[in-house]
């Protein structure tokens, strides 16, 4: 880059730039007059809508289940379905997704079944993660969705690395990583963007700016105009988009993917949205934000906005909406009953996967544990269950994709 010289001191603050918010659909679900509708076939639009609706209903039901004490913990995607599903829908289904934890809509879009969601939520013997992680820590190798890790922002530099591998493999795929505006404060975020730019990596950094990191409002998270301006510091393409506008999110991500895959250009997308629900089932937002603020955002509900657009196009009807909601609710409840009745993962899932093979020292600890549980089976009902059924440690009834 050419160095410009100035002979008087000039201090810049970044206010010289103004980053617009790309939007196509008004809150009433109408295309803005100056806007072009993205090319989106009816089937594709309905696949997107179904994923958003199913995510909304899954979240409603599972939060209720958590309140009933059937589930230890839950996190809702509510209010952010357009951001998550819209971005996913603009990718190839074999592109990698490395999410934070609130992006179940992406899995829903890719076809993760309600059974698969439930098995993880209840940590039963069919959970791919073998009951080791808290609810909502999904992962699916076949759907190209990296298993969630609770520590924030760790997935962002990993996405840069994964995408570099994809570029080396030359298979025309990219990685999209989701994270919140709070996680973008972590050092990992900055490292990830810098390396992606330096090494020309096909990765899309998708920031869900939903206004809050647990209780901390965006205004206490950063002083700048959101996350988007940070891209300039790394010489990276950036776009800010209305995260509650499904068409804008889809189109922005579709074009970002072209930059990534065709030109090896990383892209930062900042989706402006709102976490309508609490941070998690352990949180109560009434301590840090007003009902009025929540109501104002409820009026911008991304699901309703897309529904209005679909209805106006004649691609969807009130009757179809009612029957779809009804069948989804029934499926969620039926599936939940099945999943919670299943056995926990077998006792030896405690020691598998620490390494590729169980070490002799760990095996010894495990043998002592089995001996102990045989002495007090009633004190360890979960562990005793598989131990009583099968003394042999080879019998592994664990779930796998």
């Amino acid at each position: 880059m050419m160095t410009q010289h100035a002979h008087q001191p000039v201090f810049l603050t970044g206010d010289e730039f103004s980053i617009p918010t790309f939007s196509l659909l008004s809150p009433e679900g109408e295309l803005y007059s100056e806007a072009d509708a993205p090319r989106l076939e009816k089937d594709h639009a309905l696949r997107i809508y179904h994923a958003m609706l199913a995510t909304r209903i899954l979240d409603e039901r599972m939060l209720a289940a958590q309140r009933q004490g059937r589930l230890s913990f839950y996190m809702q995607c509510t209010g952010e379905e357009a951001a998550v599903v819209g971005a996913t829908a603009a990718l190839d289904d074999a592109d990698m997704i490395m999410a934070q934890y609130r992006e179940q809509g992406a899995l829903m879009y890719r076809g993760f079944s309600i059974d698969e969601f439930m098995n993880q939520l209840f940590g039963n013997e069919l959970d791919y993660g073998k009951g080791r992680q808290m609810p909502i820590h999904y992962g699916s190798r076949k759907l190209h969705y990296m298993t969630i890790s609770s520590p924030l922002a760790t997935q962002i530099p990993q996405a840069t690395g994964y995408a570099y591998g994809q570029k080396m493999a030359g298979d025309g795929h990219c990685t999209l990583t989701f994270f919140g505006e709070g996680a973008a404060s972590e050092g990992d975020f900055h490292a990830a963007l810098n390396m992606a730019s330096v090494h020309q990596v096909p990765v899309i950094f998708f920031c869900r700016n939903n206004g809050y990191a647990i209780s901390t409002p965006a205004a206490e998270q950063f002083a700048a105009d959101g996350i988007a301006p940070r891209a300039f510091g790394y010489h990276m393409h950036v776009i800010r988009v209305d995260g509650n506008d499904i068409l804008a999110v889809y189109e922005a991500t579709r074009q970002a993917r072209e930059l990534a895959v065709e030109r090896n250009q990383p892209v930062l997308i900042e989706a402006m949205t709102y976490r309508l629900a609490a941070h998690s089932s352990s949180d109560d937002p009434s301590g840090y934000r007003s009902k009025n603020e929540e109501e104002a955002w409820r009026a911008k509900d991304p699901l309703l906005r897309m529904q209005k657009w679909l209805l106006a196009k004649g691609w969807w009807s009130e009757d179809e909406e009612a029957s779809k909601q009804e069948s989804l609710r029934r499926e969620v409840l039926d599936t939940m009953k099945r999943a919670e009745k299943r056995s926990p993962p077998p006792l030896d899932s405690l020691i598998s996967d620490v390494y590729a093979d169980v070490t002799p020292a760990l095996q010894q600890q495990f043998d002592q544990l089995k001996q102990h549980i045989r002495r007090y089976p009633e004190a360890y009902p979960r562990g005793a269950k598989s131990l009583d059924l099968s003394v042999s440690t080879d019998a592994d009834s664990q779930g796998g994709e």
Partner: protein
């Protein structure tokens, strides 16, 4: 005397420290108006203003780096890391900076005013990332002090001592007990000594050593053992760095037997340090091998948490084996 749970006792200690010394500054993720995700800093912002109790951006390395600088300047930072599981982005700042500030500058500069508070430990269905006990990473770091209270009374007295200690302290709070542990706590200012263990129960047959939430578990095991006529001596280390080897050695010279228990995995755990020191000091007096009852050498599980944890039954069995050796 008022009754408080551990969170109230911690909140009370912070309140006293902030009222007494305007250099005391509390910060971390969500600690401001919300009062922290566990509410340990409730009302402190209201009372002392946003300049002395505030939310930070979500960046642990930044929180501790900032705290190091603030302490070097002469302020008294009390930094909160929301969960001990999330302390690792700050590991470099703690291990390479906090712990070595005084030494590397020949005492030109120090960060002795710093206290890092963080909730640790399992038993709350928290899985891999809301359950860990990372004390041994830090006890391997000369220059730090590591303190772990077992109940509300201890929490208040040890936290006040930590804040006023001339060296940086990592204060690990057993979050399982935050609301579960309730007890009498004086309203007034008091301190408990860092580096001194406490014998919480005297006995003659065997010594049990632990810290933090594990003390409650040891207590249950001791009840079972006493029913069988085994007379147990129980010691709460309270402080792991420095740790009070004298009190433990004196006890083991009397009982001839020792069980050490912690939630963290066996290998490289702090129980190994206790066992090595005590076998050196009490070798000819030992009646049985020193036993360690700990978590397994695996990441912290979720569904099989109960099986993983060193519970009272596992400790009771270790006591029996030791006595019947």
């Amino acid at each position: 005397m008022p009754t408080m749970n551990m969170l109230q006792a911690i909140n009370n200690a912070l309140d006293i420290a902030m009222a007494e010394d305007e250099k005391v500054i509390c910060f971390g993720e969500d600690v401001g108006i919300f009062g922290g995700v566990f509410r340990a800093t409730s009302h402190l912002q209201e009372k002392y203003g946003k300049a002395r109790c505030f939310n930070t951006p979500l960046v642990e390395q930044g929180i501790i780096g900032f705290a190091n600088g603030l302490a070097a300047q002469g302020s008294v930072p009390v930094a909160e890391i929301q969960f001990a599981d999330y302390i690792f982005p700050a590991f470099d700042q703690i291990v390479n900076e906090t712990a070595k500030f005084r030494y590397r500058s020949g005492d030109l500069f120090n960060v002795g005013g710093l206290t890092i508070r963080t909730p640790y430990g399992g038993g709350i269905s928290g899985g891999l990332y809301h359950s860990q006990s990372p004390e041994a990473y830090f006890t391997h770091t000369p220059g730090l002090k590591v303190v772990v209270p077992r109940n509300p009374y201890q929490a208040k007295g040890l936290l006040l001592a930590s804040i006023r200690d001339p060296d940086p302290v990592l204060f690990l709070e057993p979050k399982r007990l935050y609301r579960a542990a309730v007890g009498e706590v004086p309203e007034d200012d008091y301190q408990l000594p860092i580096g001194e263990a406490e014998i919480t129960k005297e006995g003659s047959d065997i010594t049990l050593v632990g810290w933090g939430a594990q003390m409650e578990v040891i207590g249950k095991a001791v009840e079972l053992a006493e029913e069988q006529g085994i007379n147990c001596e129980v010691i709460d280390l309270r402080s792991l760095l420095p740790w009070d080897a004298d009190t433990v050695a004196e006890s083991v010279l009397k009982t001839g037997r020792l069980v050490v228990s912690h939630e963290a995995p066996l290998t490289g755990g702090f129980a190994g340090e206790v066992a090595a020191t005590i076998q050196a000091r009490c070798f000819l007096y030992l009646e049985s091998p020193i036993a360690r009852v700990t978590g397994l050498d695996t990441p912290f599980p979720l569904v099989l948490e109960k099986e993983y944890l060193p519970d009272h039954l596992k400790i009771f069995e270790a006591i029996r084996e030791s006595v019947n050796f």
